[in-house]
């Protein structure tokens, strides 16, 4: 059963008691009475399956703290298994807080994967990993690629299975910030977005609904073929420069959440990824050009 099968009132009712939402390999039980969260979920998670009731990997709750602030500058708290790992945020930021909190749940607990802070997309069975610091245009490029035929595996967390080195999909809404929101809205006017939320720590944020095909194929892992370090530079031509495997290894390790925690297992997993991939620095400014470059990436031998 998909979330879209629920009416708005059914969704609100289920959320009051905990809605078991399946996203890739994980089930999140989301509990909240906040209308903007229900709205965001109905808008962006319509294609997601609801899991069986018995088990959830992560139990999360979004609620207003029971203090006087509830009546003045109202806030929202994210709770995970009963704990509040973050300071409360303004009530208007409830939906982005859910998204950030779900990422936090995975990046802090799913240690059967090497977790890299990177977007990852797939086409014809080959995955491209896009690690990059904030401001590099990673999510913008990821969004554009998924709007032009690439499958979204994740826009934030690349999960590399320790068991076989394959990438586990975690397709969730793509987080866009500030000018990137308008860029993608102009690039794909039919794309579905959550309402823009202003004045967050990241500026104005909005989330883009992933394609139904990416959600439908969320159980299908992919093998990494390319590591592309993107960098947006206004007015720059699209340029792809080779990065040596050893240097790409070090940069990926720096971008990993749990490389040190995994120790030798992390080293071997990442080395396995490097053996089967080609790595590049990629500078771009025009999305259509960038997509042409990605579509022409040579398949590693």
């Amino acid at each position: 059963m998909k979330l879209s099968a629920l009416s708005r009132s059914e969704l609100s009712l289920r959320l009051r008691h905990g809605l078991p939402l399946r996203t890739g390999a994980f089930t999140f039980r989301v509990k909240t009475c906040i209308p903007s969260v229900a709205h965001g979920l109905s808008l962006l998670y319509a294609d997601y399956p609801l899991a069986a009731e018995e088990f959830s990997d992560f139990h999360v709750t979004l609620a207003s703290p029971p203090t006087l602030r509830r009546w003045f500058k109202s806030q929202v708290t994210f709770r995970f298994d009963g704990m509040a790992p973050f300071a409360p945020l303004p009530y208007t930021q409830a939906f982005p807080m859910l998204e950030w909190g779900l990422n936090w749940c995975v990046s802090n607990h799913a240690n059967n994967y090497l977790i890299i802070h990177a977007a990852v997309v797939e086409k014809n069975g080959y995955a491209a990993i896009l690690p990059a610091p904030p401001g590099s245009g990673k999510s913008t490029l990821c969004a554009a690629l998924t709007l032009r035929g690439w499958r979204l595996l994740s826009d934030e967390l690349t999960l590399i299975r320790l068991s076989d080195g394959l990438i586990e999909p975690l397709p969730r809404p793509i987080s866009l910030k500030n000018a990137s929101i308008g860029v993608i809205k102009r690039f794909a006017p039919a794309a579905v977005f959550s309402p823009e939320v202003r004045d967050t720590v990241k500026g104005t944020v909005a989330h883009m609904k992933p394609g139904a095909d990416s959600v439908r194929r969320a159980a299908l892992p992919a093998r990494a073929a390319w590591i592309v370090f993107p960098k947006y530079e206004a007015g720059a031509p699209s340029v792809l420069d080779t990065v040596t495997p050893a240097r790409a290894f070090m940069r990926l390790a720096d971008n990993a959440f749990n490389y040190s925690l995994l120790g030798q297992q992390g080293f071997h997993t990442l080395a396995g990824v490097m053996d089967g991939t080609a790595a590049y620095d990629f500078t771009y400014s025009v999305l259509d050009e960038a997509i042409q470059v990605f579509d022409a990436l040579p398949v590693p031998a």
Binding site: T244, P245, A246, R247, F249, Q264, H268, A271
Partner: protein, 90 residues
């Protein structure tokens, strides 16, 4: 005085092109090494060596005689690798 590799397993060393990536299980750190440093580490993983013997083996590997200059370069690399806890004196 001999030098030996702290990480004695070749399992913790990967070579791509002319660059090595080395994982040190004792420190938990990963290092990017150039060709010479990587080959020194691999020689020391095989067995602890005196500087002079190590240089002889490298001259044989590289098919060239380096003389005192090579001795100095290798000694300097060993000190650098010692600072990274990749090699130690025994």
């Amino acid at each position: 005085m001999k030098w030996r590799a702290v990480a004695s397993s070749s399992d913790c060393v990967r070579l791509w092109g002319d660059e090595y990536v080395v994982y040190n299980p004792q420190s938990g750190n990963t290092h990017l090494l150039g060709l010479a440093a990587g080959q020194i580490l691999q020689r020391l993983q095989d067995a602890p060596l005196e500087l002079r013997d190590l240089v002889s083996l490298l001259e044989s590997d590289w098919r060239q005689v380096g003389g005192p200059e090579l001795m100095q370069e290798v000694a300097s690399l060993l000190e650098d690798m010692h600072a990274l806890a990749l090699v130690e004196r025994v």
